[in-house]
Symmetry: C2
Subunit: 490 residues, 2 copies
């Protein structure tokens, strides 16, 4: 495998694009803005899905499936939702093609025009709440705790693999509750689930907070978010959980009889994470040698590479390698024995390093003699010679160590790149350098908008907890009671 990877320092953005394609994660397709997720990339996404799906089920949720298409008129029902979502969408206007009468391939059959256009879902609140109307009559039908794994389409003008694509894969939870309190608790719970997943599986530290009204989900009363910091100092929103109040229940007339036998509108939440997490994963840990994957999500956790000069050596090494492979598998470790005879060990070392396999084991004839193996860590690139006694336990421990080391490294990086500033001058300088910038804000959308115009930075989140600290807005000088977190972002 030729590495030939642009360094992060030279061009971070190009480094990312090259890494994604050269590590066989994804590529652009023939359809503008739509990506192909390649098998190696999809395997990581599957690991993510499995972990998340289990967490959703453990918190009482079930999966279901709602239509890909949404009638155009549904978007007009919820006033702020239409502003945020019904614009850059794929619109289905016809349902039939026909042979071109002039013999030039196929053309749209103008006789097959839909009475009402259908929108390819950019998110499913509207169609789901239209459905819930028939499912909910009484408080006994509540709560509804439903999740959907699906593809969605938002017609983005500038796309980047995983980070911003016209079509992407995601999950969207849509829950219905009898009380405001319960819905709020659900939205907060799912934020905790997301933070737990991103920190403990992806090894990416996140801040939790709420969005300012400007950055809120269209139709939400409150948007909770987790925010991560990438190596180039830009923030990335890794997941959101929305408390929707009764907005969608009112828009779609979803009422229930409460215990006092009175009709009330239902309370709602929605929450989602997407293939965008792949972008966060890649950008958080990878280096100039290629991908670095946290062991918990790596499709291959350990690769074994044989070193040999002839068939006899290969046979001896293979016997040992297969024995080790079996031991590791018994321990539940995902291991691959790379016995291709078409490639040299050096090529294999490079390839698996580039693809981010956390641990590489090399075995040569001398190792067979000495009952040893050479073990290399992807995260630190350190090598060590280990005796094969209890090797599976040692490797298991090493994988845990790598997982926590990746998290710690990312956490240190974020902490080193989170600054508190108290003047507009400092603010501008610091935003230019990257990282999270904590600053006082007067709470108005106007100020937020002006700061964005002047610095390209937005409020990533307002901390949920923490004491009040009196101060003055870094931009307007008006009084403020809390530091909020600004950053440039993906």
């Amino acid at each position: 495998m030729a590495k030939d990877l642009t360094t992060r320092k030279d061009n971070y953005s190009q480094w990312y694009n090259e890494l994604v394609t050269k590590a066989d994660l994804a590529e652009n397709s023939a359809v503008r803005g739509c990506m192909v997720i390649k098998p190696y990339g999809y395997a990581i996404w599957e690991s993510m899905q499995n972990a998340l799906d289990k967490m959703f089920k453990e918190t009482g949720h079930v999966n279901a499936y709602f239509p890909l298409f949404i009638p155009k008129s549904f978007f007009s029902r919820e006033a702020s939702h239409v502003e945020g979502f019904a614009k850059e969408c794929a619109v289905v206007t016809h349902y039939r093609l026909k042979n071109d009468p002039e013999g030039k391939g196929i053309v749209v059959d103008e006789n097959a025009k839909l009475e009402e256009e259908l929108i390819v879902r950019p998110t499913s609140e509207t169609i789901i709440w239209d459905t819930y109307r028939n499912w909910i009559q009484s408080y006994r039908d509540l709560p509804l705790l439903i999740n959907q794994w699906a593809n969605v389409v938002r017609w983005e003008m500038r796309t980047r693999l995983f980070l911003r694509t016209a079509e992407f894969l995601w999950q969207e939870g849509h829950t219905a509750h009898a009380t405001q309190q319960e819905a709020l608790a659900e939205a907060e719970q799912m934020l905790r689930v997301y933070a737990d997943f991103v920190e403990n599986w992806m090894a990416v530290p996140v801040f939790r907070g709420i969005k300012s009204p400007n950055e809120r989900f269209a139709g939400a009363v409150e948007t909770f978010c987790i925010e991560a910091l990438m190596q180039d100092g830009k923030a990335l929103q890794a997941g959101t959980s929305h408390f929707l109040g009764q907005n969608f229940a009112k828009a779609f007339d979803v009422k229930f009889l409460n215990k006092e036998n009175k009709l009330e509108y239902v309370w709602a939440t929605s929450w989602g994470v997407s293939t965008r997490l792949m972008g966060a994963l890649i950008m958080s840990h990878s280096d100039d040698e290629g991908l670095v994957l946290p062991p918990k999500l790596a499709p291959i956790q350990v690769v074994i590479v044989p070193i040999y000069k002839n068939q006899e050596q290969f046979d001896a090494v293979s016997e040992k390698a297969l024995e080790i492979k079996k031991q590791l598998q018994i321990k539940g470790i995902r291991v691959k024995y790379d016995d291709r005879d078409t490639q040299k060990p050096g090529f294999k070392f490079n390839e698996w390093e580039f693809k981010g396999v956390p641990v590489r084991i090399a075995i040569g004839p001398r190792d067979v003699e000495n009952d040893t193996v050479e073990v290399a860590r992807r995260d630190t690139l350190e090598k060590d010679v280990l005796h094969i006694n209890d090797l599976s336990v040692k490797i298991d421990n090493l994988l845990e160590k790598i997982q926590s080391n990746l998290f710690q490294k990312a956490l240190d990086f974020r902490n080193e790149n989170t600054y508190k500033v108290d003047s507009w001058d400092e603010f501008q300088k610091q935003i230019e350098k990257g990282g999270f910038v904590m600053a006082h804000w007067d709470g108005t959308s106007e100020t937020e908008q002006k700061i964005k115009e002047e610095t390209k930075a937005t409020i990533r989140f307002i901390p949920i907890e923490g004491e009040k600290e009196h101060g003055r807005c870094v931009y307007s000088g008006k009084p403020s009671e809390k530091y909020v977190y600004f950053a440039r972002s993906y």
Copy 2:
């Protein structure tokens, strides 16, 4: 739960529709032809997906994801494919909506017209082979063994939940090979995988065969299929596997350097099963009391219902029930303890019977005294009182017994409804009665077409194996060398 279910005898079609909606499997949505798969139905689909996905991976396949949209021109590339697939499709023509200048909601922005229309994929051969062109250079890149789980859209005029919907969920395998022989072997292997799944997980017996040219997949050289018989005597195609020859490789210019260093077109297969299998599952086993699910796919395999008159009894019964639940769970059995205090036992019995839970355990105060439970089978509706010693082993055996009993029952039904006929008169009478009708056929599309017009029956499959038997076509009287299987079908 009010049953209120039309009987199969009274109106089979209505029985099916009522069953699907009343058992909370699926329902029609606000979008014509698109269904909502409800949580209970989706849980069954998830069981199917898990089992199939494991089988695909065990046979060396990996998952990936390709775009939802396909450029219109792609369909014109493969001549027969365009005829079969590019007609009844959802066509995306615009990518933006805007506020109606007259203030009436939102309208399509005519300035945002796509240069080339995009088709929502009805199947993905074209976009995938366009992608494979860049992935395949040499024989070393082959085989590619890739599967995709996805939603697809075919604009059907008459839709029925699960059986025929505009949008449905499916998997589509798309493999690329260096030789014809290898591709053929792959297509045959996947047919075996499908047959294995449908028979051993769904408990639905299937015939395997090949399709006549009339019924072949658009673009295939050979279509292999599995065919099942429903309780109303109609056949249902449960899965297909296609040997595509070099048709798509030629259409999308996918060549590889073979071992002799010569450029050759790649050989292809594709294969798929869909949410249609849900229809087959429901129709094969269910009865006038409701759904009947094979244990291997049932989201809940065992439900425990407590019988009690007061809190004291409830506490005693619950203690026992939870102990049993735990024992069953240790054995890997999916069990639910229905301790709702809002419903009577009779209501619960009916509800779980209607939802097809294979085994119901009832525990009352006397059972607690006697260390017994009442066990009811959904398939035979038989009840038995069992001592709780080794109960989890007994229940585990019972679930296996139910699984094989369902298969045997369906197999007996199919065998009793498969007839061999040798005259046109017999043929017409038998087709009218339902079932598979084996008859000689002269091998021409014209005859097949005429038989279809006169009897609504099609050739479901031509047996792959079996000796030649000389005879005369039941319709034309021309010579024939094989019985083929006709039926009316879904």
